[in-house]
Symmetry: C2
Subunit: 338 residues, 2 copies
């Protein structure tokens, strides 16, 4: 069952490979191939079920029509959503996606991006983790087109597609405030990543602008490596304190899930005992006894924008795009109205 190659068609029809190539690439007119030969070639291609070898094509064209996608962790809801969106848009534009997951390790990030570059991907869409600035700079230096998504480094001038984390957090807190909450706690991950720090800033600014008290012990940063323990030891003191918060705002979906589980086991009722607001959404919310109020990232739009930007970059050389999307908001019943 030998593979049929261009030459086979040429021989079958009795012409040169050049003609075959012209015809099958739709340049029959342009290259003035005779109608007769064009017809014969097209028929032969179908008859022999010719499938062009993309590897050879890529080598010759120096374009693989492939984009590399590196996500921080395939298990995140964000990752599957954005992967799906990117894949769909890429397919629409006739690109293939190769992807990998770094599990938040900078070493794996470096390794993966290098592998993808060696595979001659035409460009990269990256969700960088902590301490990957070096590699970003290195990629920038190497000239390969890339777009950061979800996360970026304000000190490095790159193309990116991101959420307006500041405003999303600010608006979320404002929502809590206007629905009557006075003591709002924010639980975030302990991280140096800009996008999460922006959520802190949005929280703090909202409190300030609405003249609400802001206590250091209400802004909590927990270690992402052991969420159950982190959440447990964060929530206990909050609930025990004399004037405990009337709302908890959580910076990620996994934080919220962990917190809701914890509240469940402690027998704390949402929203009667305390309001809960989640920055991100999660499928798991479906089974919570009350609909969880949460923000929503426009994954489809972001994925689409990332692919479009990247492909422009691949084609046009120089563009500089820093796209910021606004989060949506899905009201539930997990925040008390007072």
């Amino acid at each position: 069952m030998k593979k049929v190659v261009l030459k086979d068609i040429a021989q079958h029809v009795g012409v040169s490979t050049a003609l075959v190539s012209y015809v099958l690439n739709g340049q029959a007119e342009e290259k003035q191939v005779s109608k007769e030969n064009a017809e014969k070639i097209k028929l032969a291609a179908i008859e022999l079920n010719y499938q062009p070898n993309q590897v050879a094509k890529s080598l010759r064209m120096r374009k693989t029509h492939t984009i590399g996608l590196v996500v921080a962790d395939i298990n995140y809801r964000f990752s599957t959503g954005i992967t799906r969106a990117i894949e769909a848009e890429a397919k629409r534009l006739n690109f293939t996606v190769i992807f990998g997951s770094t599990n938040e390790s900078p070493d794996k990030f470096t390794e993966l991006t290098n592998v993808l570059v060696n595979r001659q991907v035409d460009g990269l869409i990256l969700v960088p983790g902590e301490n990957s600035q070096q590699q970003i700079l290195h990629l920038q230096n190497s000239g390969i087109p890339f777009v950061l998504i979800d996360r970026y480094f304000p000190e490095i001038d790159t193309n990116y597609v991101a959420l307006d984390n500041y405003k999303a957090a600010y608006d979320a807190v404002t929502y809590l405030v206007t629905s009557g909450h006075k003591r709002v706690s924010f639980i975030n991950l302990k991280t140096s990543m800009f996008h999460l720090q922006e959520r802190d800033r949005g929280y703090l600014d909202a409190l300030k602008d609405h003249h609400l008290e802001s206590r250091p012990e209400w802004l909590i940063h927990i270690d992402g490596d052991d969420l159950p323990h982190g959440i447990a030891s964060a929530i206990q003191p909050l609930l025990n304190s004399a004037d405990k918060p009337d709302a908890i705002f959580l910076a990620t979906d996994r934080l919220t899930i962990e917190a809701l589980k914890r509240l469940n086991t402690l027998g704390v009722k949402v929203p009667d005992d305390i309001s809960v607001l989640s920055f991100d959404e999660s499928d798991a919310f479906d089974l919570f006894y009350c609909p969880v109020t949460h923000g929503r990232q426009p994954l489809e739009e972001m994925g689409e924008a990332a692919v479009k930007t990247l492909i422009n970059l691949i084609n046009n050389q120089k563009i500089n795009k820093k796209l910021t999307f606004q989060a949506g908001f899905v009201p539930g019943k997990s925040c008390r109205e007072t």
Copy 2:
């Protein structure tokens, strides 16, 4: 910032490309390259930061060291889990994964597998959907190595890695029976897929072997395209009937989630009013008020096995492997003990 190619190193050192290739591929000894040249070449490769062009290599070697993965829907828990496992194992064996999602459409399945084959992947790992037998046969005919995972067609002789769905369902029902349940309903998807039909068979055989009543109206098949509606109109009659079932066994994670949501809105208490057992697990169970008893697929092992089988297939030509894994069981509190 031109890319450094083999020739550049050759020129830099002042030797032919052959020598450079030998040295950089660890054949220095074998090909008796002089120590002196070998050293110079290695140094130059580092100095110039040479990165081999994998596309050229692939064309020449007729091996891309890439495997194509086609899943039914990237949003399934099964898909992300198996993807992660496959990716990890592939990386371990120095393979790259290109993947795509068919969203259960046979046309997309055909298209995707063809694209991957044209990209010269060395082999495929596939989760085929309904009505993809044709394409499976076609792939078989074309001689490309592939392994089915999760689902397969008993009438087609292929390599596969799958779960023992019959036994998993049988054992689950047996668990319900031995914990005192007498009227067990099974909700499955309406499908022609073998792996789901096996779950029916396991359910029915278990009932028979344990001398329990088996009513046609307790074995329910609902349309996967509109789960909420399907579940709603399936559960209502069950609960309303004179001697309603004391347990519901659900064939997939999404069915279980939908059912639990429905039971929530109906105010039916699990397990007091009715026991619930899920064939699959789901992250969403975390937030349900009681731990959901469920089966567990050994995704890591299955992914690993699929990759290993495929790579053997790629290297050794002919092997015939039909691997069946046993499901695990995670006891929760969603089934009454009586």
